[in-house]
Amino acid sequence: MIRFENVGMRYGMGPEVLRDISFHLRPGSFHFLTGPSGAGKSSLLKLMYLVSRPSRGLITMFGHDMATTPRRKLPALRRRIGVVFQDFHLLDHLSALDNVALPLRIAGFDDDKVVEHAGELLKWVGLADRLQARPATLSGGEKQRVAIARAVIGRPSLLVADEPTGNVDPAMGSRLMHLFLEMNKLGTTVVIATHDVSLLKDVDASVMTLENGRLSVLSRAS
């Protein structure tokens, strides 16, 4: 489903931040991505959620060779990917409900059903009383839950999360991990970049470790 072969990436004329990255993520698999700060985790995630292109190597996403896929087809592929950003990327002028509803609205779903679904999802992440709140009035943890709800509302084929439990208390972190596992059981491939080693202990998943731009270790988490 997702295949990287000898992928390298650099920003502009700078040095390579990712070198010779090769891996294959099967549909419905669960992965952690770890590594020290600056190891290239965010760059690798950017390649996965299709906002960057590799400077070399081959990336295949959902059966599409990204080197030959025309730009106009990328939005449809992006709709199959849910992303939880480290800095949330919520739209400040929209309510929590509207932020969560956005992916389905853009995909053209019926608005009444979208609103209902977004509301249910926000209730599930403990934000039932914050549906109309603007992101500026939410705490870091609340924003993170809104961002996660937005990422999963479209039942993506691939869920990419950058430090998704970094701003929430352990109980909520556990609840969110449970959500990711539920998504995974429904067939979503999950990739979570994290520094939180406690997450790794509780989940049966492969662990990809990045060091100095190289994917050095591929192991099982538990």
């Binding site: 292109r53 730009r71 939005p75 592929l77 992006r78 739209l91 956005l102 992916p103 853009i106």
Partner: protein, 291 residues
């Protein structure tokens, strides 16, 4: 309420001034168009007036000879096909013609003045002016036929020049509007970078994202355009009253007929559509640069 309308933040620096800019542009374009239309109508009126009239001037030094030549010329003129009427102007008519330049009561009786015959031409048949000139020369050797041709040519040249300038002004206004909209759209894209980025990331098509900007700019342009048109209409009404009070044949009377009202109504619509298309192309080009 349609969720798409709220997708871009309300208060953005790029959009605040745009309606006023569009209002000024539409105001100027509507006045330029109105000027072009007025000159066009005046040209038709002047042409009609001048081509339906001719003048015979007899500048004989001997008054008796002049009067005889006038009588003879009138006879020839009245017998000529295509001439509806021929009347000699009286001395008091000539004095009245000179008074605007020399002042009332300043035209002395001994001032040498030519005799003038005012000729009104029929619509058909056309007068054979070379033959008429020859006939006049036989009976009135001092007669000079003036068909106003040189005036008509000059007026047509003047009118065409004014129209070309009016069209040039409208084109320049359109180009300036496009340039301003490009800058405003780029400023809007920069201000709403986060929104564009998120829409892009969650699978928004370029056309969808551009659509949000084009709708926003269309609304702003329509708002500004009709304010500009209202201001232009007020100015045109004021000028129409002013020129109507002035009277006279050669001062162009500003008035707008229903057909021209449609043209002027089209000015803000064209400005709005130009703004919308410019905004769309600008956004599409900017988005094409990102992955």
């Amino acid at each position: 309420m349609d969720w798409r309308k709220n997708l871009l933040p309300d208060h953005r620096a790029s959009g605040q001034f745009l309606p006023w800019v569009i209002a000024v542009m539409v105001y100027l374009a509507a006045l330029a168009a109105s000027a072009g239309l007025t000159v066009n109508k005046s040209l038709s009126q002047w042409r009609d007036d001048l081509t339906r009239n001719a003048t015979v001037q007899i500048a004989a030094s001997n008054p008796k000879s002049a009067s005889k030549q006038v009588e003879a010329a009138l006879k020839v003129l009245r017998e000529t096909d295509g001439i509806q009427e021929a009347e000699a102007l009286s001395h008091s008519d000539l004095v009245a013609l000179l008074e605007p330049w020399l002042g009332s009561g300043n035209v002395s009786d001994d001032l040498p003045m030519p005799k003038l015959i005012e000729v009104t031409l029929a619509a058909k048949p056309k007068v054979d002016f070379p033959a008429l000139e020859k006939s006049l020369a036989k009976v009135a050797p001092d007669a000079r036929l003036d068909t106003h041709e040189s005036w008509i040519d000059r007026l047509i040249t003047l009118a065409r020049t004014v129209q070309a300038i009016a069209i040039g002004i409208v084109v320049l206004i359109a180009l300036a509007t496009v340039a301003i909209v490009v800058f405003a759209t780029r400023a809007g894209l920069a201000a709403d970078q986060q929104v564009v980025e998120v829409l892009h990331l969650i699978g928004g098509q370029d056309g969808f994202i551009a659509g949000r900007f084009q709708s926003h700019f269309l609304r702003l342009a329509l708002r500004g355009g009709f304010v500009g048109l209202a201001a232009a209409a007020a100015t045109i009404i004021m000028l129409a009253r002013f020129t109507s009070e002035l009277g006279g044949t050669f001062v162009p009377k500003v008035y707008i007929n229903p057909y021209e009202i449609l043209i002027l109504l089209a000015v803000p619509l064209v400005a709005a559509v130009t703004t919308m298309i410019t905004a769309r192309i600008t956004v599409m080009r900017s988005l094409a640069r990102i992955t």
